[in-house]
C-alpha cells in the first residue's frame, strides 16, 4: 500500500519527518515501512527530544561495566559479581488499563535485565496517582498494585522497595515506573550487539498476537477524552510464560551458543532486530512467515509492530540451533529460526515470498530525528516570610498526628504487603525502610536499593529538585550502611514541545548530573517518558532515581527502627529550618510558594561519608535520613518501626521550633546511639566537621515533646497506618 503525509500523521509522525523519510529512501515508504519508521522514530524509542541532553550525563566510573545504550546498566560489586539494573516507565498503558499496564511494565523491565544474563534478584517501583479524591484514583491504585504483584509474585522475584505519591497533577496521567536488579557473573554478560554474517536469527518465547500494536507510539502522545479507545494498544502480560522464558534463557546462556540477545520490548520485533543489526553494523533478513503467530492472517505490518510480551530475539552461532531448540522445547516455548544476519546493512523483510520492506538500518537508527527543543529556565522563587503568629495556635504533636496521616506520608503497608518481598530467601530489609536490601546469594555481601522522586521540589525549582533526588537516594542507601555505587533514572515529564516542560526536563537533568558527578554516583541506565499530559494539563516534573549500594558484610547492615530505651537521638547535619515547599507549609499552612531546600553537595557528601564511618565503627544502633516532614517525622517513623517512644530535649537553637522540627533542610540523618558511645561518636563527627544536634532519647512507648500532652506510640502507629487502609478498604 502506498503511503502519504496523512497516513504518516496518523502514525504520530510529523509532516517534516515524513518528507525526511521519503528523501532518505528516495521513494515513498510502503505501509509496513512507514509502520517501522513510526515505531523507531517516536519519542519513546528514539529519544529525539532528550538525546542531546542525555549525552551530557555522567555515566563513567570505576565500578561501571556498562553504561547507557544497552538493555540495562551493569556495575561491579566485587569478586566476580556484577549487578544489572534499570528503571523504566509504563505510564501511558497503566492509565488506560492499570492491571495489564503495570504488570507488563514489570515484565518488560525484568526482561531487560535477564536478557543480559542476570537472574533478577529484586524489583522496585515508583508509582504516582492523582488526588485521592479524584474518582479514578482508587481503581487505578488497586489495579496497578495488583498488576505489579501479579507479575512479580508469579515470577518469584521479591519486590523490596518503592515509592507511592498522590498529587492532582497526576489526575489524568498516572506514573508507573518499574525497576529490576539482577545478579550476573561479570565475565558472563550478554549484549545486544550482533556479530558475523549468515548467523541464524532466532525467535523465542510467546507467540505474536495483535496486542500492543503501536504501544510505543501511544506512549509518545498526549491524552485526550478518547484515550479509553486505545485499550487495544495495551499489551497483555503472562508472567508464567516469562518465568519459563527466564529459566530457558539462563539455561541457554550457560553454553556458548549466543552471539547476541535482545528482548522484544517497545516496538517489538522492529526495534529488537534493528537494534541488534545497528549495533553490529550489519544487515538482517527476516522471513515473517516463520514468526510464530497467535492469531490468523496477521500481516507483516502487524507482526512487525506487535508488542506481545515475553519474546526474545537471539543471534546464534551457526549449528547451535538444535541444542538451543532442545532447551526451549523443555520449557514448552516457541522456537523459530526466522532469518539471518547479512552484510547488506539493511533490514529486509519477506512475506509469502515477496520482499515487503527494505530499509537501510542507518536511516532508521542514526538518521532518526534529533530535536534541540526550545526551553525556558525556571527562576528560583522568592523565600516566603512565615508569620510566627500562624504557629501560635498550633501544637507540635497535633501537627505530627496530621502529618503522619497525610496520603504522602502515611504507611504504604497496604501496598507492599501485596507484593511477595521475601521469595528467594535473601531479603534482609523489607519495603517500608530507607532501602530494600537483598543478600548476594551465598556470600556475605548484600545490595541495598531505593527509588526516589520529589515532584514538588522539581516543580518549584527543577535544578535544585534534580540535585535533591540524587542526594535523597544516596542518603537512603547510606542510612542502611551501604556504599552507594550507581543510579538509573526514569525521567517522567510533560510535553517537550512546550518550553516550560522542556525547561523542567533540561534543568532537572542538569541538577541530576551535577549531583551525580559530585557524589561520584554515575548514571548507568534510564528511560525518558514525555507527553504525560492530558487535555493541556501536564504532570509535575517527576524524575525518579533508582540507586544501588553495596554492603560488603551484610551483618553490618543498619535498620531504621529504634532499638533501646535511653539510647540517644542525634541529628547529623545543620538545621536552618527551611519550610518553603515543606509538607508542613503546604499541608498545614496551605502555603505552596517558595523555593525548595537548598542542596549543599559538600555537606551532603561529607555528612553521608561520615555516617558510613560511624556505621563501620559499629557505633550506630539505627539511622534514618530526614526528608519529607522534617526531623520530627523522621524520628516518629523510626519510633513506629521500632514500636518505641521518644522524648525530645528542650530546644537549644535560635530558630522557632516549628522551623526546627518541620523544616526540610537537606543532608541530614537521625541516628540512635548508645550513651556510652557518645564520646566516640562526637569525636568522629567533630574531626570531620559535621554539625550535629543532640535532640532526645528513646523511651519505652511514650512520646514527650516539650510540655505538650503525652502521645503513645500505638496512637502514632494507628495514625500512620490507617490512612491508606481506610481509603482503600472502607
Amino acid at each position: 500500500m502506498e503511503t502519504n503525509e496523512q497516513i504518516a500523521i496518523e502514525h504520530g509522525l510529523k509532516k517534516e519527518e515524513y518528507s525526511k523519510i521519503c528523501d532518505l529512501l528516495k521513494r515513498n515508504p510502503n505501509l509496513t515501512e512507514l509502520g517501522i519508521f513510526s515505531a523507531m522514530w517516536n519519542e519513546h524509542c528514539s529519544y529525539k527530544s532528550s538525546k542531546i541532553h542525555l549525552k551530557k550525563l555522567n555515566s563513567k566510573g570505576k565500578k561501571v561495566i556498562q553504561g547507557p545504550g544497552e538493555n540495562a546498566g551493569v556495575i561491579d560489586i566485587e569478586d566476580d559479581d556484577a549487578i544489572v539494573f534499570k528503571i523504566e516507565s509504563h505510564n501511558h498503558p497503566s492509565f488506560i488499563e492499570p492491571y495489564q499496564g503495570a504488570a507488563t511494565g514489570v515484565g518488560g523491565i525484568m526482561r531487560d535485565v535477564f536478557t543480559m544474563g542476570a537472574r533478577p534478584i529484586a524489583n522496585l517501583n515508583s508509582i504516582h496517582f492523582g488526588s485521592p479524591q479524584h474518582p479514578k484514583t482508587k481503581n487505578l491504585l488497586r489495579g496497578v498494585v495488583k498488576g505489579i504483584g501479579g507479575y512479580g509474585n508469579c515470577m518469584g522475584i521479591p519486590t523490596v522497595g518503592g515509592q507511592t505519591s498522590f498529587d492532582e497533577s497526576y489526575n489524568g496521567n498516572i506514573l508507573v515506573n518499574a525497576m529490576t536488579l539482577g545478579l550476573v557473573n561479570k565475565n558472563k554478560i550478554f549484549y545486544s550487539k550482533a556479530a558475523g554474517i549468515n548467523k541464524p536469527v532466532i525467535y523465542v518465547g510467546s507467540k505474536t498476537g495483535r496486542d500492543g500494536i503501536h504501544g510505543a507510539s501511544m506512549a509518545s502522545a498526549i491524552f485526550d477524552d478518547k484515550i479509553e479507545e486505545k485499550k487495544p494498544t495495551v499489551q497483555v502480560g503472562d508472567p508464567f510464560t516469562e518465568k519459563l522464558l527466564l529459566e530457558a534463557c539462563l539455561e541457554l546462556m550457560e553454553g556458548k551458543s549466543i552471539i547476541s540477545i535482545q528482548d522484544m520490548g517497545a516496538a517489538g520485533l522492529t526495534s529488537s532486530s534493528i537494534e541488534m543489526a545497528s549495533k553490529g553494523n550489519l544487515g538482517i533478513k527476516l522471513n515473517l512467515n516463520k514468526v510464530p503467530c497467535r492469531e490468523e492472517k496477521m500481516t507483516p505490518y502487524e507482526i512487525m509492530l506487535s508488542e506481545s510480551q515475553e519474546r526474545m530475539l537471539i543471534v546464534l552461532e551457526n549449528g547451535k540451533e538444535n541444542e538451543a531448540k532442545k532447551i526451549f522445547d523443555k520449557w514448552n516455548l516457541d522456537f523459530a529460526v526466522i532469518g539471518k544476519t547479512t552484510d547488506s546493512k539493511k533490514i529486509e523483510l519477506f512475506f509469502n515470498n515477496n520482499k515487503v520492506a527494505e530499509i537501510p538500518i542507518n536511516i532508521l537508527a542514526e538518521n532518526a530525528p534529533v530535536y534541540d527543543r526550545k526551553w525556558k529556565k525556571t527562576k528560583l522563587p522568592q523565600r516566603i516570610k512565615f508569620n510566627k503568629n500562624d504557629f501560635k495556635k498550633l501544637k507540635i504533636s497535633d501537627v505530627l498526628k496530621k502529618i503522619l496521616h497525610l496520603p504522602n506520608i502515611a504507611s504504604k503497608e497496604w501496598i507492599w504487603q501485596q507484593y511477595d518481598h521475601t521469595v528467594m530467601g535473601d531479603t534482609i530489609q523489607k519495603p517500608g525502610s530507607d532501602s530494600g536490601v537483598v543478600r548476594v546469594h551465598g556470600t556475605n555481601k548484600a545490595v541495598a536499593t531505593s527509588v526516589d522522586s520529589s515532584a514538588i521540589y522539581c516543580y518549584s525549582h527543577p535544578l535544585t529538585g534534580g540535585k535533591q533526588i540524587v542526594c535523597e537516594n544516596w542518603r537512603n542507601l547510606i542510612s542502611c550502611g551501604s556504599k552507594p555505587i550507581a543510579i538509573t533514572n526514569c525521567l517522567n515529564f510533560g510535553n517537550p514541545e512546550k518550553e516550560k516542560n522542556m525547561g523542567e526536563f533540561v534543568e532537572c537533568v542538569e541538577g541530576i548530573n551535577e549531583a551525580s558527578k559530585y557524589l561520584d554516583y554515575p548514571i548507568v541506565s534510564g528511560n525518558v517518558s514525555f507527553y504525560n499530559e492530558t487535555k493541556d494539563k501536564g504532570i509535575k516534573p517527576t524524575p525518579a532515581i533508582g540507586g544501588i549500594g553495596l554492603l560488603k558484610d551484610y551483618k553490618k547492615m543498619i535498620t531504621m527502627d529504634l532499638k533501646n530505651n535511653k539510647n540517644l537521638l542525634l541529628v547529623i547535619g545543620k538545621t536552618e529550618g527551611h519550610l518553603d515547599q515543606s509538607v508542613f507549609a503546604i499541608n498545614i499552612l496551605n502555603e505552596k510558594k517558595g523555593p525548595p531546600p537548598e542542596i549543599n553537595l559538600f555537606n551532603e557528601k561529607n555528612n553521608g561519608e561520615t555516617l558510613l564511618k560511624l556505621i563501620g565503627e559499629g557505633l550506630i544502633n539505627s539511622a534514618h535520613d530526614v526528608s519529607l516532614g522534617g526531623i520530627i517525622t523522621a524520628v516518629s517513623k523510626m519510633a513506629i518501626k521500632g514500636k518505641k517512644g521518644f522524648k525530645l530535649n528542650n530546644l537549644k537553637v535560635l530558630i522557632n521550633k516549628f522551623h526546627y522540627y518541620y523544616g526540610e533542610d537537606q543532608g541530614r540523618y537521625v541516628i540512635e546511639i548508645a550513651p556510652n558511645n557518645l564520646t566516640k561518636v562526637q569525636k568522629i563527627l567533630k574531626s570531620n566537621s559535621v554539625h550535629y544536634d543532640d535532640i532526645g532519647i528513646v523511651t519505652e512507648n511514650e512520646i514527650l515533646i516539650d510540655k505538650e500532652p503525652v502521645l503513645n506510640i500505638n496512637d502514632l502507629i494507628k495514625f500512620n497506618k490507617s490512612w491508606l487502609e481506610d481509603y482503600m478498604d472502607k
Binding site: 508469579c154 519459563l244 511477595d420 530467601g425 547492615m557 478498604d729
Partner: protein, 227 residues
C-alpha cells in the same frame, strides 16, 4: 536423609527449599515434572510458586502432571510428602489431602509474618519440636482453607489439623487469621500423618537476618526425627 524437591514449570520456591533442606543436612535432589520417576527419597517436597501458571485453579494442572503419579505412589506407601503453599494446593487437588484453598478473604495477595501453633506432635514432622508457637511467613493469594463439615469432623477426630494461625501467645481468633481459613487452619496432615500441607513457608525464615528464624525449629526437628 535424602530429599527430593519437585520442580514444576512455574515453581519459584524450589531453590529456597533446597537451600533450607541442605542447610539442615538433607541430601537433596531436584526432580523435573516431566521425569518418569523420583529417585529414592525419605522426603518429597512440593515447593511453593505458581505451577503451570496456576491456570484453571491453583495446583490443578500440577495434580495431573506426569511426575505426580510417583508422588502419589510414594505417599500411599507411607513416604513423607511435604507441600508448602502451592505444594499444599497441589496436594488438595490430587486428593491426597482433603479440602480446598480458596482466594483470601480480602481478595488480596498477602505477604507477611504470621504465628502458627503446632497442634499435634504425634508425627514425624513435629515430634519433639522445641517450640510450639512458630513465627513463619506467608505469601499467597489463595490460602483460605475450606472443607466440608464431615471432613472437618474427621480432621479433628484424627488430630489432622497440623498448624493453626494464632498470635505470639498461641491465641487463635479471627483477628489473627490472615486469610479467612476455616478454624484458622494453616496446615493439615493426611490420616496417617505422612503427608503435610501448609501455607506458611518455613524455608523463608531460617536465619537471624531474615524476618524470623523459627523455620530452624521445623527443619532441625525434621532432621532429628529421621535419625
Amino acid at each position: 536423609m535424602k530429599s527430593s524437591v519437585i520442580i514444576f514449570p512455574g515453581s519459584n520456591c524450589d531453590r529456597d527449599m533446597e537451600v533450607a533442606l541442605k542447610k539442615f543436612g538433607f541430601k537433596n535432589q531436584m526432580v523435573w515434572h516431566n521425569d518418569s520417576g523420583i529417585p529414592k527419597s525419605d522426603l518429597i517436597v512440593l515447593p511453593g510458586g505458581f505451577s503451570y501458571g496456576d491456570y484453571l485453579r491453583c495446583g490443578s494442572i500440577a495434580a495431573k502432571s506426569k511426575i505426580i503419579k510417583s508422588v502419589i505412589d510414594f505417599a500411599n506407601s507411607g513416604g513423607l510428602v511435604l507441600g508448602i503453599c502451592n505444594g499444599f494446593q497441589i496436594l488438595t487437588e490430587t486428593g491426597l489431602l482433603p479440602g480446598i484453598l480458596q482466594q483470601n478473604k480480602y481478595q488480596k495477595f498477602i505477604c507477611k509474618n504470621v504465628y502458627v501453633k503446632v497442634n499435634d506432635t504425634g508425627n514425624k514432622y513435629f515430634k519433639n519440636i522445641k517450640k510450639k508457637i512458630l513465627e513463619l511467613h506467608i505469601a499467597h493469594n489463595e490460602g483460605n482453607y475450606f472443607c466440608s463439615e464431615n471432613e472437618l469432623k474427621s480432621l479433628n477426630n484424627n488430630n489432622q489439623i497440623a498448624v493453626t494461625y494464632c498470635n505470639e501467645n498461641g491465641m487463635e481468633s479471627s483477628e489473627f487469621n490472615p486469610n479467612g481459613a476455616l478454624c484458622n487452619i494453616a496446615g493439615i496432615f493426611s490420616k496417617n500423618k505422612n503427608i503435610l500441607g501448609m501455607m506458611p513457608h518455613p524455608e523463608r525464615v531460617i536465619d537471624k537476618s531474615l524476618s524470623s528464624n523459627d523455620g530452624n525449629f521445623f527443619f532441625q526437628n525434621l532432621v532429628e526425627n529421621f535419625k
